[in-house]
Amino acid sequence: MSTPAPAALIPGHPRTPALRAARLVLGRDLRLAFRRPGELVQPLIFFAIVATLFPLAITPEKSQLVLVAPGVVWVAALLASLLALEFLYREDAHDGSLEQFAVSGQSLTGLLLAKSVAHWLLTGAPLAIMGPLTAWADGAPMSALPGVFISVAVGSIALSLLGSIGAALTLGVRRSGVLLSVLNLPFTVPVLIFGARATQQAIQGVDYTAAVQLLGAMAILGVTLAPLAAAAAVRISLE
């Protein structure tokens, strides 16, 4: 009895490089999102609804509304991002794709970072446009809008990435919405505080660089450490 030599079992093909694998995952997630445009716009519509409720509930006077405009923008952004986070891993967890990521031989951290980038592009970046629009509708001067744009853009990165940790921790939990927002609180509260402060400073016309730098620091923390924590949580959920 002889065992045949393993000829051409791995026919000279090397592994796909990590960066290319990440780009493929990013492209896949973007393509999938556009196949379901109805689901894609849900967080943004939710943002618009929440942002509209405030002037209706508080006051239509722009001179007063402009005082709460930063809060309106940021609470709406936070709630929209929480809604969006529920979709981040859900489908991949259900159809076995996350499992395949975990046994692919590629770094799970890198693949989850790619998913988070796609997620931000779809649900966070649009907020950077809707935020200034809302601020303007609530009485902010045009000169303030670039500042609002920057603060929401950077802050949404922090929210998306740090939020992925809570999403990964609640993977196996049914109806995880409230628990997700509770677990993400230690991250979202600082982002909210500094984001609203930056937006307020922009609207008032004072220098907002310090607050934006702190937001940037949180975003960097999110990009570097959040995927690691999320990967650990995903592996545990798959067990």
Partner: protein, 246 residues
């Protein structure tokens, strides 16, 4: 040599017996320290120059708040140990910390509120340290919620361990919030490293006594809960029968 001791701490029956032995000691030491602290603080020490008699709630508020941070740190360290070295007993320690942490934090917020009302005319302020202490309370509740939401005990242990380690970032934020923001809370007068504390000895001694008293109280409570956790987790193991028979 040190390694065998560490190894023994991973064995549930050993830890159970150790906890049973230490608990009464911790309880009595805690009682003694707290008795001295309360009598010294509430009765003997002089009234504060600015706040009069009302400041005395400090003797309960400050140690409780400090303990809320310590409990989280213990929970986070136990979780890290459990994840890195795969020690089941460490998971039980972390689980035992959850409810106690929530209680300490809630008490800290409540005593702070009771202090603030008569003293500064406000029972609640959105001051940074208070905000982040409230976040800490939510973290403990979230930890307990996540543990309850995950079905399998072992998976719940590990996922909560990740949560505890990731959430530890709030602890330094709370501690340094008084330096980063101007707020209702005064800057540290006891814990300044290196320099002398700015409090008179007659106030400082009972306060320190209360701090340590609370530490031993936490120790006693933790060890008791730990024993309950171990009994529940290891209920099908053989050493449980020996314990019950004894």
């Amino acid at each position: 040599m040190a390694w065998t001791w560490f190894h023994k701490l991973g064995s549930p029956p050993y830890v159970y017996k150790l906890a049973a032995t230490l608990t009464p000691w911790f309880a009595w030491i805690a009682a003694a320290l707290m008795a001295y602290g309360l009598i010294g603080g509430l009765v003997i020490s002089p009234a504060d120059y600015q706040q009069g008699e009302g400041y005395r709630i400090l003797y309960v508020h400050a140690p409780t708040a400090w303990m809320s941070l310590q409990v989280y740190v213990v929970m986070a360290v136990a979780s890290a140990v459990a994840l890195i070295w795969r020690i089941k007993v460490a998971h039980a320690v972390a689980a035992a910390c959850g409810t106690m942490g929530a209680t300490f934090t809630a008490c800290a917020l409540a005593t702070g509120s009771l202090w603030g009302g008569p003293m500064w005319g406000t029972y609640w302020e959105w001051d940074p340290r208070i905000i982040f202490e409230l976040v800490l309370l939510v973290q403990f509740l979230g930890y307990m919620g996540l543990r309850a939401a995950v079905d399998d005990t072992q998976r719940a242990d590990r996922i909560c361990a990740v949560l505890a380690v990731v959430g530890v970032i709030n602890v330094p934020i709370i501690h340094y919030s008084v330096e980063w923001w101007n707020s209702l809370h005064q800057t540290a007068s006891v814990m300044k490293l290196g320099s002398k504390p700015t409090m008179p000895l007659s106030m400082l001694m009972p306060l320190l006594s209360m701090f340590f008293g609370y530490v031993f109280l936490f120790g006693a409570l933790l060890l008791t809960r730990l024993r309950a956790e171990l009994l529940s987790r290891e209920r099908s193991a053989s050493w449980i029968r020996d314990v019950v028979r004894a």
